[in-house]
Assembly symmetry: C2
Homo-oligomer: 111 residues x 2
C-alpha cells in the first residue's frame, strides 16, 4: 500500500522543495539519494526519506521523516552531513525546507 | 511503518504546496480534509491524500497519490471537485501543484 502513515507513531516530517534547472534534476536526485544512503540513514532518529522528481523537470522534493525535531536538527549540524547538503544547495536554484505535522490521512476505502 | 511506498505499484504523485497566512492555516487544512473525504476520495483512481501543516504556520502540503495522471486530470475537471479547489485557492496566498515520480525510497535498516 503506498504512502501509509501510522498515526500511533509520531514523527517529524521534513518536506524540502528544491527548484532546479531541468538539465540538473537527475544529478540532484542522485546526489540526494547517495547522501541519504551513505550518511543520513545512519544517523540517530532517521526514519525514512523518499525522493521525488517533478515530471516538468523543475522540482525535486525530499519527503523525510525523523523521530523528533531534535534528531533532525542534530543531522543539520552534523559535520559529515553538511558537505552533502552544501553540494545539493549548490546544484539547486533554491530550496525551501519546512518541518510539518501530519494533519489528516485519507486512503481509498477497500471496495 | 510511516510513509512506505510499494515500488511494485506505480502511482502518480501530486505534491501541492500552499502558502498561507498562519491565522488561516487550520481553516485551510480543514477545508482540504473535508473536500478529500467528501469528494476526491470517491473519484476513480484516488489512492491516498495526506495533509500536512508546517510548524511555522506558513505552509500546507497535500501529498496525494492517484493511479494515473489521467485520473488526476479527470478530478481537476470534475464539476463537483472544482468548487472545493476554488475555495482552497481563495484561502491560500498561493499554491504550487506539481506531478512527481518517486525516484528513491530510503528507510531505516532494522537494527
Amino acid at each position: 500500500m503506498p504512502a501509509t502513515i501510522d498515526p500511533a507513531q509520531p514523527v517529524t516530517t521534513l518536506i524540502n522543495v528544491f527548484t532546479v534547472r531541468p538539465e540538473r534534476q537527475a544529478e540532484l536526485v542522485a546526489l540526494l539519494s547517495k547522501a541519504t544512503e551513505e550518511v543520513m540513514s545512519g544517523l540517530p532518529g532517521f526514519v525514512s526519506a523518499n525522493l521525488h522528481a517533478s515530471t516538468d523537470g523543475t522540482r525535486v522534493v525530499n519527503y523525510a521523516q525523523w523521530t523528533s525535531a531534535d534528531a533532525m536538527r542534530a543531522m543539520l549540524a552534523n559535520p559529515v552531513a553538511q558537505p552533502h547538503m552544501a553540494a545539493a544547495a549548490e546544484l539547486a536554484e533554491s530550496y525551501e525546507p519546512h518541518l510539518y505535522t501530519v494533519e489528516a490521512v485519507h486512503t481509498q476505502s477497500p471496495s
